[in-house]
Symmetry: C2
Subunit: 385 residues, 2 copies
């Protein structure tokens, strides 16, 4: 096990009918900005619950956060906060809204230039407004971590940043708020959480971080068991609760303590989304089987273990076990409604060229041992045509 330092201070408020509790979490005299997306919270009752809970506060609103939230949109919200001298932000939505708020609270009082450098140059954040999150879509884990991914529309950049100052003060997870989500969003969320765990688990085999491996498998098994049920029975409370809690744990920082991490699938996927607007989870479902195939030797022991522990694959031949595990992962994505090949999204050689060129430009070497170059990316994507 490698040395590590970690803390995660987010207060989780979990369960049915818990939105009303936010009144206890926000200082009484604070002026609040509610940030949300395209208005689904007005249809499913969440908005009304939030407004009722905040009675007595001065409340402002900023809506229209898009999926893969845009720098440009966030900057408008930051200006609004500064103008109105607001004290506290409440993100109401899924990972995009929460990620946007993380950038907004950091950008509002950023004083050493264009806040874009927080993302592009990882400029240090010295101050951020406090904020809470009401999660309505289990997927990204943003509700309990200190990371965010922001897209700059004009340059097709989709890049992550993080800072201990952007942990939510609290996160409300009410599984009933997810009942009305479209199947596509639930499927995307399951895939996103699944790949988060994979990025922190499916690496070269260190064999010495037993608890972290078992915990990663605990989350994967929950997602694999409950994912399809969540699609079949959208109002089964326990299934939605298990899914929501597993998605949070997929990226709250504990399972990666002291272990190597990959993240190549995400990095490649981000470029596909930035160029073509394909859903984040869809890009992951395209890329991951390719990464597993090309890196099959380096990741052999963990791929076999994933197959055995999570999907019940037991095969004498290591090669067959690896092939079967890659296949079953691909099938899992298809089962939750996500197509897994570039051609399913009308993408082909041009996209492969564009994405691998962009990664060559960035000069990034990806994966847990930094051996995935632009050429490897081309190889990976060519397998996924």
């Amino acid at each position: 096990m490698e040395n590590f330092i970690f803390a995660n201070p987010v207060k989780i408020i979990f369960g049915k009918d818990t939105i009303k509790n936010i009144a206890n979490e926000i200082p009484k005299n604070n002026k609040i900005l509610i940030v949300y997306g395209r208005g689904s919270i007005k249809k499913n009752g969440v908005y009304d619950q939030v407004i009722a809970a905040l009675k007595g506060h001065e409340v402002h609103e900023f809506s229209g956060i898009e999926p893969n939230p845009h720098y440009e949109t966030c900057m408008k919200a930051a200006a609004f906060i500064k103008d109105k001298k607001l004290d506290y932000v409440l993100a109401v939505g899924g990972g995009s809204v929460i990620d946007a708020v993380k950038f907004i609270v950091a950008a509002a009082y950023f004083e050493i230039g264009d806040p874009w450098i927080i993302i592009s140059e990882h400029a240090e954040i010295k101050r951020a407004l406090p904020f809470g999150a009401i999660l309505t879509l289990p997927a990204t884990g943003s509700e309990m971590n200190a990371g965010s991914v922001i897209t700059r529309a004009e340059t097709h950049d989709k890049i992550s940043f993080n800072s201990p100052l952007i942990y939510p003060k609290f996160a409300v997870l009410d599984p009933t708020t997810t009942y009305s989500l479209p199947a596509k969003q639930i499927g995307n969320g399951i895939a996103d959480a699944f790949v988060h765990v994979i990025e922190q688990y499916l690496t070269y085999y260190t064999g010495d971080s037993m608890l972290q491996d078992y915990m990663a498998e605990a989350i994967l098994k929950t997602l694999v068991n409950e994912g399809p049920k969540a699609l079949e029975s959208p109002t089964d409370y326990d299934v939605r609760a298990n899914l929501m809690w597993a998605s949070t744990w997929a990226l709250n920082g504990w399972i990666n303590c002291g272990v190597p991490q990959d993240w190549a699938t995400h990095m490649i996927g981000h470029e596909i989304t930035a160029f073509y607007g394909i859903d984040h989870a869809q890009t992951l479902a395209i890329v991951l089987p390719g990464v597993m195939t090309v890196l099959r030797n380096q990741k052999a022991k963990k791929i076999i273990r994933l197959g055995r522990e999570v999907f019940g694959i037991n095969m004498e031949s290591k090669d067959n076990a690896i092939n079967q595990t890659i296949k079953v992962v691909e099938n899992f994505f298809e089962k939750i409604g996500i197509k897994t090949h570039l051609s399913d999204y009308n993408l082909g050689d041009e996209a492969i060229e564009k994405v691998s060129n962009r990664l060559a430009q960035r000069g990034w070497k990806l994966g847990e041992v930094r051996n995935i170059t632009a050429d490897t990316v081309k190889e990976i994507l060519t397998l996924r045509k």
Copy 2:
């Protein structure tokens, strides 16, 4: 899954040679009290590392914290803090030292009477000095939770209390500090951590908290795999690291979110320790197989699942699976060097009478559905003669 609210802010500093990092965690001008036990830290080099790390601070010492730390001892430390106007406490040791410090920091400035009422009446703590922990014995999980168990020697009371104000600000977990521990203490620590998980897992079957169950099994499997190895190879870093991390997770509050909890084994065990001074872990190893036997119907599904998932027991007959699982749990304790019957400690009918009478006096009903009365305790202990 039941609703829950939870946060755990403890900063974990994990790994080889990490004690030196405490300098970054304690405010520069603070006057510090180092609290420790009976001096083993002076033999294994930990004391020297702590003193070196705190260079430049005004440092005082309070030693002599006993296993099952005494109220009487803690009160002396609290008076010392008040007298010297100290700002920060550093617990260096195992769970007893950390538990003691939790009471000391709460008692030092307690203003509404004898601090014993924090324990006896769960009087609210309004203020506590900040403190950090350097863990040298993986066992109780106290390094990452907000609970403490204190013994009042004169009245044979051993009682727990908790408060969000008694979370350590940081905890240093350096597995190499455990190399020199006697086998008995390692064995006791494994058993303690094992039973912590069991208390939060082996309850009536709710079947609806999938991630929590898998996570509990992740910790149990780590303890069962690594425990015996830790005894055979005391300086195997990865084994000691896995054990230390699993012990912390056994009681850091996350696996019990939204699930029923038992704690009867601990409550009964505390009374045995309070009367007879038997080690905490020894009492757990005596009591747990009795609890599992008497509550076998209520806990049937979970006992069978424990046997299957953690110990690899697969049997057609449910009765046999339960019997076999109880047996294998008992064997596990024996394998790590802990005797499991009252007679092994020269205790018998008198002890059974005394402990069950004390619980009758207290009027507590124990277990996850509060159906374990003093009579049930007598039945449990009679099985363990």
